[in-house]
Structure formats: structure tokens, C-alpha cells
């Protein structure tokens, strides 16, 4: 047995153990922390499978952003947790839940085991057509040229999720600032970190966004880092969340999908199909879409974590 295989097997066992622990643990906060660790371990698994693009996304979105959302949810649920735990479901409910879970798992297992071996793949076709798109990273080519429709819908879905979060605002706070007001502690370590880290984080975020055309990286991963930097400044109390009624905010929130849709429909005239790019213009159009999507994603991801509007801005 080689050393690499031993590492892979331990990693797989560790992922399974953490997954089992997340399900078994009774404490919501503990389960959320387990989920973050699970996301980071899963990112390592993707690295071992030679899929750095997926690994970056998993670490940024799966572990980091979703983890932050779940920690917020767990903190809100803390008050009701004792009551929820007291309502222990009856034996019949638990048995039905177990049967349902086992059935779903069995169906998934049968589906995976029934996959043809070797699995059908479009990778050679994608690689062969890579030159037509002008980008060097095949993952970016798939996301923004071959399967652009999926990416467009993805960008719209996160925006809809943000509208869902905003709709939880009480009437008096509609149009106001998301989240509680944070008071700055000028000597605090958080304020220190929020002054030190963002300049570096912004460069790293933009670098990961820009390099995505040719190497692993991209807008989602870069946008998550930029959103994290903004949230750090907000949480340290150095800046406040903008009121959601601001026009500039709303324009930036929709500009990414709008540019994407506009270029997509322009493709129907210039290239003969919706979301097709005219020959020779693929690269600049892809870059234009990515640049337009960037502010939308940064704002959407950060505001998702910031939560529903809670208060009106100070006059």
C-alpha cells in the first residue's frame, strides 16, 4: 500500500466519520461546526481527485459561506432549542423517517453502482472545443460557454435567495439596514484584523477572480473572499450595512444577471442561438459577463450572511 493511498483512505474515513457525527450530535451549534470541518475536509478530497476548481468552491461556498449562514441560523435558534428537544418524536415517526432515509440511500447507491464503467464523459469534446472560447481553464469554458444557461440560472437563484431573506424583514424595518448595529471597539482585536486583512484579502479575491479564465479560480470563489472582507469590516463595526432601499445597491444587485441575459439574447441575433457567442468574440464577452457578475455576487453573498433588514439608518 502506497503512502498516498493510505492518506486517501484516512481522508475518506475521516469525512464519513465527521458526516456521521453531524447527523448524530444533538447540539445544533456543534453540528454546524462539524459541517464547516466537513466542508474543509471535502475540499481536500476534491484536491486529491485533481479538481482544484471544485475544491476552491467547496472551501469558499460549502465550508465558509454556508457555514457562516448556518452559524447565524444556529444562534437564532438557540432560544427555542430546549423546547424543540423536549418534543421527542414517537417511535412510529422515527421508524418512518428511518425507512425513508434508508430507501433514499439505497436508491442513490443503486444509481451510483449502475453507472456504466468507464463513465460517459464529455471531457474530450469540451477540451477539443476549448480553443473556440479563448479561455484556458476548461472549467470556466464549461461554466460560461458550453453550459452558460446553468451559470445564469445559478446567479439568479442566489439573488432570489437574497429576496427571500429580505422578505423576513418586519414592516417598520423594510428598506433599512440588515443585521444589528455593531459598536466598534477601537482597541479590539477584531477592529485590528478588519484594518489589516482587507487590503490583502481584496487583492487575493481579485486575483482568484481574474486567474479563473486560465487557471483554477473564478468569480464565485473570488466573490466569496471579497464578501468575507466586507463582512469582517461590518462585524468589526468599522462600517455599517447599506440600507437595502439604496438605488446603487439595487442596480449592482441586478447588473450581473442583466448583462448576462443581454449578451445571451444578443447571441440569438449575432451567433444564431441564445447564449451563443459570435466567433472571435467569445473571450471578451465571457470576461464582460464575469466582470458584471462580480459586484452582484459580492453584494448578494455578503448580504445573505448579513440577514434581513432590522432597523432604519440613523439620520
Amino acid at each position: 500500500m502506497t503512502l498516498a493511498l493510505a492518506v486517501d483512505i484516512s481522508l475518506a474515513l475521516l469525512v464519513l466519520a465527521v458526516a456521521g457525527w453531524i447527523i448524530a450530535v444533538r447540539d445544533t451549534f456543534g453540528a454546524v461546526i462539524g459541517f464547516v470541518a466537513y466542508g474543509l475536509l471535502l475540499a481536500l478530497v476534491w484536491i486529491r481527485l485533481a479538481a482544484p476548481d471544485v475544491a476552491l468552491t467547496e472551501a469558499a461556498i460549502g465550508g465558509g459561506l454556508t457555514g457562516a449562514l448556518l452559524i447565524g441560523a444556529a444562534a437564532r435558534l438557540r432560544g427555542t432549542e430546549a423546547a424543540a428537544r423536549a418534543e421527542y418524536p414517537g417511535a412510529l415517526t422515527r421508524m418512518l423517517a428511518a425507512i425513508l432515509a434508508v430507501t433514499v440511500t439505497a436508491a442513490l447507491a443503486i444509481g451510483v453502482l449502475a453507472l456504466p464503467d468507464p463513465a460517459p464523459t464529455l471531457a474530450p469534446a469540451a477540451t477539443a472545443s476549448l480553443a473556440m472560447t479563448g479561455v484556458g481553464n476548461p472549467v470556466t469554458a464549461v461554466l460560461l460557454a458550453f453550459r452558460a444557461m446553468d451559470t445564469l440560472l445559478e446567479a439568479i437563484v442566489v439573488l432570489l435567495a437574497l429576496l427571500g431573506v429580505w422578505s423576513l424583514a418586519p414592516d417598520r424595518a423594510w428598506g433599512g439596514c440588515p443585521g444589528p448595529r455593531r459598536l466598534v471597539d477601537p482597541d479590539g482585536v477584531l477592529a485590528y484584523l478588519a484594518r489589516l486583512l482587507p487590503p490583502i484579502g481584496i487583492i487575493v479575491g481579485l486575483y482568484i477572480f481574474w486567474i479563473g479564465a486560465d487557471l483554477p479560480g473564478g468569480k464565485f470563489q473570488g466573490a466569496t473572499i471579497l464578501a468575507a472582507m466586507w463582512l469582517l469590516v461590518i462585524w468589526a463595526g468599522l462600517a455599517d450595512t447599506p440600507p437595502i432601499s439604496r438605488t446603487w445597491l439595487r442596480i449592482l444587485l441586478v447588473i450581473g444577471p442583466l448583462v448576462f441575459i443581454a449578451i445571451g439574447f444578443a447571441g440569438a441575433i449575432t451567433a444564431g442561438a441564445v447564449l451563443a457567442y459570435p466567433e472571435g468574440y467569445a473571450k471578451p464577452l465571457i470576461v464582460a459577463i464575469e466582470i458584471a457578475l462580480m459586484p452582484t455576487l459580492v453584494l448578494t453573498l455578503a448580504l445573505l450572511v448579513a440577514g434581513a433588514p432590522q432597523r432604519m439608518p440613523l439620520q
Partner: protein
């Protein structure tokens, strides 16, 4: 020369792994939050520092050296900040003796 560098890597990375192990033992065995935090952050700083130090001779390009050191510095910064924040919460919520 490469043999010497390889031995240096093995020794430094093993020492780093030992500090991680010691930190984990401390995390599991120490009696209260502050001492557990101490064990954890020490292990992160020293353990990761030694692992990075050991990997430096194996770097292919000068840029990789900078990246490795940057990773260590960021982990130091994050560890120190989060350690401080958690210690403050622990001290505030400590039951009065």
C-alpha cells in the same frame, strides 16, 4: 546536498507533526477553556511553522516560498485573533467563583 535538504524536511515536518499532536492532546486533556486555547494556538503556530519551514527546501520556484510563508503568517494572524476573541468570551462568561 539534496539528501541534506531532504533530511532537514523530514526532521522539521516531523517536529511540526509532533507539536500538532501535543496540541491535540492538550486540547483534549487540559481542564478549562483558556488553557485549551493556549494548547491549540501554540500547536498551530509552532506546528505549522515547522511544517512550512520543512517544506521550504522542497519548493520548486521562489514564488512558492513566498506563498508558503504567507500561509503561515495568515494562520498566525487568524489564530491569534480568534484565540483572543474566544478567550474574551470565555472570561466574560466564566462562572464567578
Amino acid at each position: 546536498m539534496s539528501l541534506v535538504l531532504d533530511i532537514f524536511t523530514i526532521v522539521a515536518v516531523s517536529a511540526g507533526a509532533f507539536f500538532f499532536l501535543a496540541g491535540t492532546v492538550g486540547l483534549l486533556r487540559f481542564p478549562d477553556t483558556l488553557t485549551r486555547l493556549h494548547a491549540l494556538t501554540k500547536a498551530d503556530n509552532l506546528g505549522l511553522g515547522l511544517v512550512v519551514l520543512g517544506l521550504l527546501p522542497q519548493a520548486q520556484q521562489p514564488f512558492d516560498v513566498i506563498k508558503l510563508i504567507a500561509i503561515w503568517l495568515f494562520a498566525l494572524l487568524a489564530g491569534a485573533t480568534v484565540g483572543q476573541l474566544m478567550a474574551r468570551v470565555a472570561r466574560r462568561e466564566r462562572p464567578t467563583p
